[in-house]
Amino acid sequence: MVVIQALVDGILIGGVYAVVSIGLTLVFGVMGIVNFAQAEFLMLGMFVGYLAWAWLGLDPLIGSVIAFAVVFALGCVVQHTLIRRVLRAPPVAQIFLTVGLLIVIENAALLGFGSQFRSVTTPYQTSALRLGDLFISVPYLAAFLMSVVSGLALWLFMNRSWYGRAMRATAQDGMAASLMGIDADRMRRIAFGLGVGLTAFGGAVILPYFTVHPTVGAQFVVLMFTVVVLGGLGSVAGAIVGGQAVGIIQSLSAMAFPVQLQNLVLFLVFITVLALRPQGLVGGAR
């Protein structure tokens, strides 16, 4: 029973980990850039969701759509003004441009929103579904369902729409895509916007149980890397598997080890996977 509870918890939280990490893997897949600032867009999404709740009275689950839209637009701007310029630079320059971006966003948020921890109050924040001895947290369940929906939407977009196909073509060969009449720059802009927008969306859906503050990104950045590496850098399907893996590992490892060591367990799995299967658990899938 305890195991089942842990498994259910792991799956629910894993869905959330997946949706916040999909953006990171998408950006890497299309542009080959590891975005260290990705988690800052999660923070921005949380703030947008929070403000939508505080000013407009919108539930964060609805506010998440606004968070997506706002951060999507911001992402397009960031791609156009910054990331675009280092696409051909050495990886070190790419990584450290995003590190600079991380510092800028975090401190701009500190200036703009103040250092306060902010939390929304929802009617269901302490609700749970009860199945026998099994508790299913309503905020977790809601976040999980929203994650599933957004994952499906992304899958449809990537596989069924012209944009999605054009984007994948750009990812494989930007030059060839240009020759076929695809505006590769525009595709990258959309990809980056979509990537950070999804992360922001994920940030807003966890608001019912998570607190937002300007440095909240730091709590997620390593976790997000773990998710995408487990799943395979650049693989969207992989991020979903990776998210689930991280959620379940965290949840189950707590039964055998002190909770304090949950990240140790996670990192050891992370290193092992990198060493043995650098293409991730879902190698090859895109």
Partner: protein, 324 residues
């Protein structure tokens, strides 16, 4: 005499004489001391990151091992930090060899992320093992009277010279390595590992040697840091932001793979951080860091190969012209 040698001699003379004009326990000398330390750390990183082109984001692991080894030996057994430094360097080197095994085949982003995880592993271990490390509460170097043997001084001046000596030493190691057979092999591996192997370079071996050197030196610098600050906790010495990313950033901003890069980078970054902090932080929280971040991005956008790259290019052109 080669112009770079002349330049180095002048810089060293200035560095040796400069403190005589400063308050020996003052703020400026402290900033300079930290700058020299970070230049040395970044130079140690440069052996792996610059020569072997393996972008490590986990160098805090070695740094922390050095800081903890010497401090634990000092606190528990009263051993001189000099001995602790040797022990720490040995442990750091050994850990570097260990890290090399699973990361050997990884390149680029994958290597960076794997090393990042190793750094975090060390942080978690230091945090969860209080009986050895003092845990999250940190560990203090016991107060002692001024003594070279115990590497402890009330004034900052001796630390300044300690760090300067460290930087000179690490830079010498870097220059000799780069100019030697190992340097050629590392550059070959960096440019094309397959071709290097086929013409007889044991890529795994040279990468491991570089990692071991770098890790050992980084650990020794960890001891120097511990003796200088007297107190540290796991986040300070094993931290991703404060150490791992910072040393890589310094080298990258200065110009990786060059002896001058980390030094130039450190003398830009550390004082920049200080200035941003002292000018702006009293005003509005976050503004100084914001400005710092914007400057970082600007430098990377304008000069992605590092600040010394234009100078290097000029020098290279001059050399080839002369060679003709």
């Amino acid at each position: 005499m080669r112009p770079s040698l002349v330049l180095a001699a002048v810089a060293l003379t200035v560095a040796a004489l400069l403190p005589l004009t400063l308050d020996p326990a003052g703020y400026l000398i402290r900033v300079l001391t930290v700058t020299l330390l970070f230049a040395a750390m970044s130079q140690a990183w440069n052996i792996v990151g610059g020569l072997a082109n393996q972008m490590s984001l986990g160098h805090a692991a070695f740094f922390g091992i050095g800081a903890y080894t010497s401090t634990i030996l000092l606190v528990n057994y009263g051993l001189s930090p000099w001995i602790g430094m040797l022990a720490g360097a040995a442990l750091g080197a050994a850990f570097a060899a260990l890290v090399s095994v699973p990361t050997m085949g990884l390149r680029g982003h994958y290597f960076a992320l794997a090393t990042l995880a190793f750094g975090e592993v060390m942080r978690v271990i230091a945090n969860s093992w209080p009986s050895l490390t003092g845990g999250p509460a940190g560990i203090s170097v016991p107060f002692a009277p001024d003594s070279l043997l115990m590497l402890q001084f009330k004034s900052t001046l001796p630390y300044y010279y300690l760090m300067l000596a460290a930087l000179v030493l690490v830079t010498a190691v870097f220059v000799v390595t780069k100019a030697g057979a190992l340097g050629y092999r590392l550059r070959a591996v960096k440019e094309n590992p397959d071709a290097a192997e086929v013409v007889g370079v044991d890529t795994a071996r040279v990468k491991t040697i570089a990692a071991v050197m770098s890790g050992g030196i980084m650990a020794a610098l960890g001891t120097a840091y511990a003796q200088f600050t007297f107190f540290f906790d796991p986040e300070t010495v094993f931290g991703l932001g404060p150490i791992s990313i910072r040393v890589a950033l310094i080298a990258i901003l200065g110009g990786i793979g060059t002896a001058a890069g980390p030094i130039v980078g450190a003398f830009v970054i550390i004082p920049l951080e200080e200035l941003a902090n002292s000018w702006l932080s009293a005003g509005t929280a976050g503004l100084s860091q914001l400005v710092y971040g914007i400057l970082l991005m600007l430098i990377i956008l304008v000069q992605p190969r590092g600040l010394v790259a234009p100078v290097e290019a000029l020098a290279a052109r001059w050399r080839t012209r002369r060679a003709r």
